[in-house]
Symmetry: C2
């Protein structure tokens, strides 16, 4: 696969040939494209071996070029977390999109606009009232929209209780609606992020699968057609051993991985494809402290897996070649990141005068990427491209 | 003062006349313009009474329209936290800008580009080596640039130790450089954000002032001209009683305020001008839990003043009129905000079916605003305008 130079950054790409990590302005997102490709290939192989369709969640990067690497089918099936992402990806040729946050009445209009424009949009709900209201809204426009029933497999954030009445009633309500098509059942085992061990993750992954397979069987026995059983989170899908009865998976983070996932054991440290390039701006306040120009906005304030690494701070400090310097970003304010070293780490700090550049491997790639407007694509030691990040929620402009 | 409808949102402004909190798509930033104007007027009055120039820090909002309300001088003196902000505000007629994060060599080029283009740009450093290198870079382009010496008044993030050698050496190095002009001394008492009581804040505020006044006297006694003594943080400036010897103040947060500041006692709860409009998307997982479409990105993951309010979560839940419902956003993931109520709060939760709209008063206005691309300007119960937020760091595109 070749890395094309985007035409959308005309002013910038004239200089692309000479760009490297020393010439980029800081802070900046750096994407190691070799690692990205390896991560993408590995999950694709895993989906193939498990016999399921891969519908990657693009909320992690909101980036068309990355999603193209992740998808091979002609419709480029993806998952999104906002209707703004749906609209942005639809505008770039993605034709089959699941919006995997429960829809509410304020979003019926824009969602139906996308359907009317020909997008294969699937939405989700766990609420019978929402299903009824969406049916009415679709009927009023002479449209039909695909709806998944969101199921709670133990995360307890959203979703019908799989053992409860709503787990039958909501799918039935959708199945009999003129303006709706039951797309199937959908869940997300977000609680796998909080597992302490691989065995715990595996148990959650099996439960995620089993809950869904059982509910699908119960519905089918009741005469309700369930076209698709959809599950997924990066921590469960990197550990699960079999997915019989499941049709598709929706991992997101696996494309980039991050310090949180590596600490969890979901990936190796050298699978992490995303770093924030930063420069030292001050080192006056104590011999063992440097200040970077990457703070709460550039890194995000997401905390790491504190129960496994209580001192993870806001990211690991790497050199430009990606080698761990053994230091952490210990605190952040808006545009400042502090690296305070222990006494035994002072030698590493001494290598970082004002102007020195480092790469920060942050805790949570999804939140870090969402703070920036583009990825700077690193191939070997050159920046070969810049890929836009489609942020925000606005559908009005 | 009138609120002009911007011309930059053409597609949108056709509908502005009918926009209110029920028709806006969610999540969305909502700016109460009456509160903004009151906050701005109060700090202006305070600066006048204290006999200092007000140079607001616009990192809080990154918004030209708000900064215009904050500034009255023809050059519209402001403070920024990135060179991208400097460039954006310069493009909108702001002619006197202090970039208040220490500069490092990677930013000399873009900073000098702004100076060459005629901007009155002041930069800061605490490092003699940086001063020397910036002098060389300025000389090479035949330019002169104004430089503040950053002083540590107790926050211990950046800045020369006011009692140490560098507090004399760095100003002298700047004063004798051909390519530099010593702008003065600059500090920020960021540790005032962590004060537990008003007395503690007042003590920090006095120390912030006294450290600077003493150092300026010491430098002047040594024959170094100190044109400007610049201090400031919202928590210290809302409490300080006198500022003799100080020339300018640089508060930022005061324009919007937030839950953190109200908890600290820096403002009243009804001074908070920024909220995030959100919709309920699910309430299936338990009788006392609702899920909003505003999560870690829309609100930010900044924590509140936990030492004063350990249960502050990620924001207070208000109704559309701004009345506190007594509920908090208790946890967030990327696009989901969970509101888990205690048993005695269940009645409030019952008022929030799927589709209900609320306004979230988040912990930290600066980080919340930086996640969005615009403020929706609320006057009474109408959205009367939309103001752009100039995010990001990129100077290349």
């Amino acid at each position: 696969m070749t890395t094309a130079i985007s035409t959308s950054w005309r002013n910038w790409t004239r200089d692309v040939a000479v760009m490297d990590l020393r010439s980029l302005s800081t802070p900046a997102l750096v994407l190691d494209v070799a690692r990205l490709r390896r991560n993408v290939a590995r999950m694709r192989e895993r989906a193939r071996a498990l016999g399921v369709r891969l519908r990657p969640h693009v909320k992690t990067h909101k980036c068309v070029e990355i999603a193209r690497l992740q998808t091979e089918d002609p419709d480029r099936a993806v998952t999104v977390s906002t209707l703004a992402e749906a609209a942005a990806f639809a505008a770039h040729g993605f034709r089959d999109i699941t919006y995997a946050v429960p829809i509410e009445p304020g979003k019926f209009g824009p969602a139906l606009d996308l359907v009317a424009a020909g997008l294969g949009l699937r939405v989700i709900t766990d609420d019978e009232g929402v299903a009824g209201a969406l049916d009415e809204a679709a009927n009023a426009r002479g449209l039909t929209i695909d709806v998944f029933v969101k199921v709670d497999c133990g995360y307890h954030r959203c979703g019908v209780d799989p053992a409860g009445r709503a787990a039958l009633d909501v799918p039935r309500r959708i199945a009999r609606a003129r303006g709706l098509r039951l797309a199937g059942l959908l869940t997300h085992a977000g609680h796998a992020y909080h597992a302490a061990t691989r065995d715990e993750r595996l148990a959650i992954a099996r439960e995620e699968r089993d809950v869904m397979v059982r509910l699908a069987a119960r519905l089918r026995a009741a005469g309700v057609e369930v076209p698709v059983v959809s599950i997924g989170s990066t921590p469960t899908l990197t550990v699960i051993d079999a997915l019989d009865g499941v049709d598709e998976i929706r991992p997101g983070n696996y494309a980039l991985f991050d310090a949180f996932q590596a600490t969890l054991g979901t990936c190796a440290w050298d699978d992490c494809a995303l770093t924030v390039l930063a420069a030292v701006v001050s080192r006056e306040c104590g011999r063992r402290q440097v200040v970077l120009d990457a703070g709460a906005i550039a890194l995000s304030k997401d905390q790491g897996a504190l129960w496994l690494d209580p001192e993870c701070g806001y990211g690991r400090v790497l050199d430009l070649e990606g080698r761990d310097l053994g230091l952490r970003v210990t605190s952040v304010s808006q545009e400042h990141g502090l690296v305070s070293a222990r006494e035994d780490e002072a030698a590493s700090i001494d290598r970082l005068p004002v102007g020195a550049r480092v790469r920060i491997l942050a805790n949570h790639a999804c939140l870090t990427a969402a703070q920036h407007d583009s990825f700077h694509v690193l191939e070997g030691d050159r920046i070969v491209d810049r890929w836009a990040i489609h942020r925000g929620w606005s559908l009005e402009a």
